[in-house]
C-alpha cells in the first residue's frame, strides 16, 4: 500500500488476529485510511460500481444455474420457466440479463475515463493492462452467456463468431471444430459454454484483486494528472470516497432498477424469443449492443490487404482493435496525463469517443443501408453514404488515434500549465 500502515488493533481479538492473519489491517489500509487524491470527480466512481455489478452478476448467475438446463432441446424452455414459474425468477433473470448491459456501460465509462485522464501512463501500465485483461474476460463471458438462452440470436451469434475462428489460415477449421465439439454449434457447444460462463466470472474476480493490488501501489490517478506530493493532496478513502462512491452506486442502481422492473427486455433482441433453429437464419444478425463497435470493424474490412483476404483482415482488425489497448501506455508519448492540459489532443479524444459511438451505430445497421441519401440512381434506387463506407472511415480513425495521433501529438503539442499540486488545483491557488 502507499505509505506505512496506520492501523492499530484496539481489542484483544484484533491484536491476536493481527499477529496471525493481518486481514483486518489489509482492509483498513486499503479501504479506510487509504490516502486518496482529494480531487477525484464522479468519473472515478465507476470502479466501485463495477465491483458491485460483478457481485450482482455472480449471485444472480449462481441462482439461475440452479434452474437453467444446458440442453439444446430444453435450454430455451427452462429459461421461459425461470421467467414464469420459478419464484422471483422473473426478477433474478432480469437482473442478470440487464446486469450484463449495465456492467458494460460502467466498464466503457471506466475505460474512457482512463483514456481521457491518461490513467494508463507510468507507473500504472500494469494496472491498465490488467484492466484490459478483465475487459477481454468480460467479453468472453458475456458472449457465452448470451448463447445460453438458446434463442435464434443466441444461436446465430454463436455461429457467426465461432466461424470467425475459421478464418485463421491452416488451423482455423480444426480449432473451430474443437470449439464446437462437433460439426456445428450444438449440444457440446452449449454445455461447454455453460461451464465456462460459470467459471470465468471467478477468474475475473481474481484479476480484479490483482487490479486493485496494482492500483494500491501507486495510488489513484486524478483529474489533473499530477502525482500526490504531500498529505495535503489526499483524503482518507473512508468516509470521503466510501460516501461518494456509495452515492454514485445508489444513483446507478436506480437507473438499473428502472430497466429491471419496467424495461426488462428493452436491451434484448426480439429474435431471441424464437427458439434456436439451425435451418433458418434471422434476416439480420446483430450481437449484443456492447459488441457493436467491434462488429462494425469486423465488417468494415471488405477488401483484401496483400495476402490477407477480407475475412481474415476483418477478424484481424476486430481483435487488433482490442489488443492495441495493451500497448497503449507505450504509444502515447506525452508526459502529460490529463487531457485537460492537452488542448489539441483533447479534440482528437472527443472525436475518438464519437467514432466509437458511430461504429456502434454502424454495427447495428445493415452494411449496405444508407446513413443518408444523396439522390437516386438511374434505376430510381436511393444512393448515398453506405454504412459500410462510414464504418471504414471510422475504423481508420479508430486506429489512427492510437497509431498516429497519440504518438505524434505527444511530441509536437505544447501542453497547458499544470497546477503545482493537487491541493493547489482544488483550492485554486497559484499556478506553476
Amino acid at each position: 500500500m502507499s505509505g506505512p500502515s496506520t492501523y492499530e488493533p484496539k481489542t484483544g481479538f484484533t491484536r491476536w488476529m493481527d499477529a496471525r492473519l493481518p486481514i483486518i489491517r489489509l482492509g483498513y489500509d486499503s479501504f479506510v485510511d487509504f490516502p486518496t487524491p482529494r480531487n477525484l470527480n464522479y468519473w472515478w466512481t465507476f470502479g466501485g460500481i463495477l465491483a458491485i455489478f460483478l457481485v450482482i452478476q455472480i449471485i444472480s448467475g449462481v441462482v439461475l444455474a440452479m434452474h437453467y438446463i444446458p440442453h439444446e432441446s430444453m435450454a430455451f424452455d427452462s429459461l421461459e420457466r425461470i421467467r414464469r414459474d420459478v419464484k422471483f425468477g422473473w426478477l433474478i433473470q432480469s437482473m442478470h440479463a440487464n446486469g450484463a448491459s449495465f456492467f458494460f456501460v460502467a466498464v466503457y465509462i471506466h475505460m474512457f475515463r482512463g483514456l481521457y485522464y491518461g490513467s494508463y501512463k507510468a507507473p500504472r501500465e500494469i494496472l491498465w493492462i490488467l484492466g484490459v485483461v478483465i475487459y477481454l474476460l468480460m467479453m468472453a463471458t458475456g458472449f457465452m452467456g448470451y448463447v445460453l438462452p438458446w434463442g435464434q440470436m443466441s444461436y446465430w451469434g454463436a455461429v457467426v463468431i465461432t466461424n470467425l475462428i475459421g478464418a485463421l489460415p491452416f488451423i482455423g477449421d480444426a480449432i473451430r471444430e474443437w470449439l464446437w465439439g462437433g460439426f456445428s454449434v450444438g449440444q457440446a457447444t452449449l454445455s461447454r459454454f455453460f461451464s465456462l460462463h460459470y467459471l470465468l466470472p471467478f477468474v475475473i474476480a481474481a484479476v480484479v484483486a490483482l487490479h486493485l493490488w496494482a492500483l494500491h501501489v501507486p495510488g489513484n490517478g486524478n483529474p489533473v494528472g499530477i502525482e500526490v506530493k504531500t498529505k495535503k493532496d489526499t483524503l482518507p478513502f473512508h468516509p470521503f470516497y466510501t460516501v461518494k462512491d456509495g452515492f454514485a452506486i445508489v444513483v446507478y442502481l436506480i437507473i438499473f432498477a428502472t430497466f429491471v422492473f419496467f424495461l426488462p427486455n428493452a436491451l434484448g433482441h426480439t429474435d431471441n424469443f424464437i427458439e434456436a433453429n439451425p435451418l433458418s437464419t434471422p434476416s439480420h444478425i446483430v450481437p449484443e449492443w456492447y459488441y457493436l463497435p467491434f462488429y462494425a470493424i469486423l465488417r468494415a474490412i471488405t477488401f483484401d490487404i496483400g495476402p490477407i483476404d477480407a475475412k481474415l483482415g476483418g477478424v484481424t482488425a476486430m481483435f487488433g482493435a482490442i489488443l492495441i489497448l495493451f500497448v497503449l501506455p507505450w504509444l502515447d508519448t506525452s508526459k502529460v496525463r490529463s487531457m485537460r492540459f492537452r488542448p489539441v489532443t483533447r479534440v482528437f479524444f472527443i472525436l475518438f469517443l464519437l467514432a466509437c459511438l458511430g461504429l456502434g451505430w454502424c454495427g447495428a445497421n445493415n452494411p449496405d443501408d444508407l446513413v443518408f441519401t444523396m439522390g437516386h440512381n438511374a434505376e430510381g434506387v436511393a444512393t448515398g453514404l453506405k454504412f459500410v463506407w462510414f464504418a471504414q472511415f471510422l475504423t481508420f480513425y479508430y486506429f489512427a488515434y492510437f497509431l498516429i495521433v497519440l504518438p505524434v501529438m505527444g511530441l509536437i503539442e505544447k501542453p497547458l500549465d499544470r497546477p503545482v499540486s493537487i491541493e493547489a488545483a482544488v483550492l485554486g491557488t497559484a499556478k506553476a
Binding site: 457467426v160 460439426f183 454449434v185 439451425p278
Partner: protein, 208 residues
Amino acid sequence: MTEQNGALGELGQEPSRRDFIYIAATGAAAMGAGLAIWPFIDQMNPAADTRALGSIRVDISAVTDGTEITVMWRGGPVFIRHRTQAMIDEARAVPLNVLVDDVSRNRNAGMENASAADQNRVLRAEYLIVIGICTHLGCVPLGIGVNMGDYDGWYCPCHGSHYDGSARIRRGPAPENLAVPDYYFETETTVKIGLSPEEAAQSGWVAS
C-alpha cells in the same frame, strides 16, 4: 547455481552434474505437464458418438424437377436441388473467368483440384448437392421460392452473398463456393451424404 552446490564454482566453467540434473528434472517436469494437459484439451474435440452420426441416407425420390429440399447433416443444412435442364444449361453457360472462386470445392470422384465448372460440382447433372452454409460467416442462404439472388441460385441475407445455379459465389463477401459434401448415390433415388464410396467400403457401409 553452481556456487550454491559448491561443485565447480565460478561462471564460465564447466557445468556441474547438478546443473545437468536441474535442467533434466525441469525439462522432464515441463514435458510431463504438457502431456498431462493434452487430454484436457483433446476432450473438447467431437466425441465418438458425434463422429458416428457423421453420415446420413436421404431418399430423393420426392424431390421433383425444379424443387429443392434441405436436410440436416452434422447439425447443419444440406441443400439438394433437382435442377431442370434449363437450370443446368444456365449454370454451364457461365464462363469460368467471371467466377470469384475457381475451385470445385468438391472432393468426390477425384474432382478435388478441378475447376469450378458446373460439371465438377455435381455427380449427376440434375442433382446439385451442397452444404447450405454460407462460406462467409455461416448463415443459411435462401433458395427456391424465397430468394434466389441475382444469379438464380441462392442468396445469403446476412451480408448479401449471391450464389449462382451451381452454388458458386458470384457477388458479395463470401470467399468460396458453397462446399460439396462427400456423397454418393446408393441407388437411383437414395443418396448417402457424409461418406465417399471408398470410406463406405472401408467402414463396412455397403451400398444397398
